[in-house]
Amino acid sequence: MQNPLDSLWGTVISGFVLTLVLYLVVTKLIMGA
């Protein structure tokens, strides 16, 4: 499997996915606790 960071678009998309994941972690697990 290719590393998404080797591609610029892979890097940007990974950044947006990570944003969503971390947002859910903060709002549901930390702020919602």
């Binding site: 610029l8 890097t11 940007v12 950044g15 947006f16 947002y23």
Partner: protein
């Protein structure tokens, strides 16, 4: 001393623009330009004159951004890093920014010195250094996206509560 938070925020934003601006320059412009320049043997201009200067401002802007950010958190520094209620958003941004700063100084700069010939390194070491610095830089580009989101969310929480 009432002017201090405003001054810190101003410098924090200016240094942050320089840091992330240069990070995006490296990833969106220089990587592809260097590949093309290496093929037609005009890469010396970038590696000798542009990259060292860009890296100088890049790594010190990262330090100034972090220090002024820490100054802005002030007595809530621990609350933010502990992701305490009311500080979870800005705290997540602060954690991402801190990881990025560590990446700059321990992975990117240390390996770039080998790549640019500022410290002695064998050809094999340069190959490894090139890959590590590239991936660390791409990791920081990826992390900058949630980092900027959480910095904005920390300052304007209401806009991000759905």
């Amino acid at each position: 001393m009432e002017f201090l938070p405003g001054l810190e925020r101003w410098i924090h934003l200016m240094a942050g623009v320089m840091w992330i601006g240069l990070l995006y320059y490296f990833n969106f412009v220089q990587v592809a330009a260097l590949k093309a320049a290496t093929e037609d043997k005009t890469n010396a201009g970038i590696t000798k004159h542009i990259a060292p200067r860009a890296l100088l401002f890049f790594r010190w802007a990262a330090v100034v951004t972090w220090l002024t950010g820490a100054g802005l958190l002030n007595k809530h520094f621990i609350d933010a890093f502990m992701l305490k209620p009311g500080y979870a958003m800005i705290g997540m941004g602060a954690w991402l920014g801190t990881i990025m700063l560590i990446n700059v100084w321990t992975l990117i700069w240390r390996n770039q010195k080998k790549i640019l010939g500022m410290v002695p390194a064998t050809d094999e070491e340069k190959v490894v250094a090139r890959r590590v610095a590239f991936l660390a830089s791409r990791t920081n580009t990826m992390l900058s996206i949630p980092m900027l989101f959480f910095m904005a969310a920390g300052a304007h929480t209401a806009q991000f509560v759905f």
